[in-house]
Subunit: 239 residues, 2 copies
Amino acid sequence: MQKPEGLALGMRPKLSERVADQLRERIQKGELALGEQLPTESALVEQFGVSRTVIREAISSLRVDGLVKAHQGRGVFVCEDISQQPFRLCSKDLSEKDHMVQAMELRMCMEVTNAELAAARRTDPDIQSMEAALNRQHAAHLSGALGQTEDFAFHLAIANATQNSYMVDFLRFLGPYIIPANAMHQMDPKELPAYQNSLRAEHWAIAAAIKDGDATAAGEEMRSHLRRGLQVNSGAGIL
Amino acid sequence: MQKPEGLALGMRPKLSERVADQLRERIQKGELALGEQLPTESALVEQFGVSRTVIREAISSLRVDGLVKAHQGRGVFVCEDISQQPFRLCSKDLSEKDHMVQAMELRMCMEVTNAELAAARRTDPDIQSMEAALNRQHAAHLSGALGQTEDFAFHLAIANATQNSYMVDFLRFLGPYIIPANAMHQMDPKELPAYQNSLRAEHWAIAAAIKDGDATAAGEEMRSHLRRGLQVNSGAGIL
DNA sequence: CATCATATGTTGTATGATGAATTATGAGTT
DNA sequence: AACTCATAATTCATCATACAACATATGATG
């Protein structure tokens, strides 16, 4: 049994969310100045004709989004730098396939340069964790598993080797958007082992280049690795 | 007059936030299973010894973070795919400089490949908006302005030319973390015009490569452009 | 067994009151 | 006039209670 989820044409969104959306709009349109502003809770209660509960929950949303900052006894203020707004990947006006391809390209953009950076900065422990992930992946393949977790762990190890924590964070953020799209699920079981072999070969090539400290080679290996994955998954991919 | 802001050693964080943090921890530690769970609001009221208002605001935080989903009449459930979690760039255990450098590297990772993609896919309108941004930047420089807005507009135009909306979103997300760090503010006014000239020259070189459809050249021009910017701003940058 | 009314539990919203922090006000002093 | 300090007014934070809306379990009824 499945629920419809995505508001089924009559699914009234919560009041607090509607209010929050309206306030977001006002802020991003610039109707509310940057440094200060925002009417008091009681004023908003009148404007929207809802209870304080709703207003407070709406403002709470804006707070965790980093759009406003509330000060007890003073008021709620629009943040000076709306820079702290989080990054999301959920444009709903995109087809499922476009979403996947674009997310994959985003990943590619970073992973290629990531491999180059890793080649320049990797430490011995980095190399060890990379190779450990590859060995685990091999074991998974031998045992009949898909080994996607281990695959991702290898890429994470590379991100770690860049010594840039944001790379790790971002890849980890991107991961869930990509993993489930892997075409291995719908692949002919006959072809699976061959595909997995080539996957591992590509991984080892990347690892070797990084170990050698050859940034250019590492980048190229990563690029062709991901490009192949993109082709298998979607057929497209000019990158 | 400045406020201390960042919790000045005794600044008690709001109850709702403390509760929200504890719940986040429970979820990410896996103490709360993935599909279902989360005690009822009244149960949490007893567990934490706070009012329902606080509990509700805490859950509201988790909701906008994409960690849980609330269903009226049923309960609050941990999201199946915590993938929807937003990406933030605010690791507070990083020095100001490390933060800047790492964010800049993240930008570099994407912009280099971005330029390559743009060279392969740019349309005529893309080229026009790129060149328009450059002309506006030149005008800004001539009028004595720093022209950072126009600079960023140029990079955004390139992102647009990739035909990948996520690239635009992500660059726009990264923008605020980078713009203010530009070293032009503290530069010797004598050297400023020369620096701005070289900036524009690099921009035009990138634009030309993209216009030509030369992906490799576009990537390289972008790489050296950003690398120079990173050096000016921080001295570091092995990339 | 199938169907429907009811009861129960849960989240959503409304309302009033109190506490805590900030700012505005004004009296009083120098 | 200028400064100090207590007081009041404003505003968000929290608490407590009640009701509405929705979902599910229960049990009676046919």
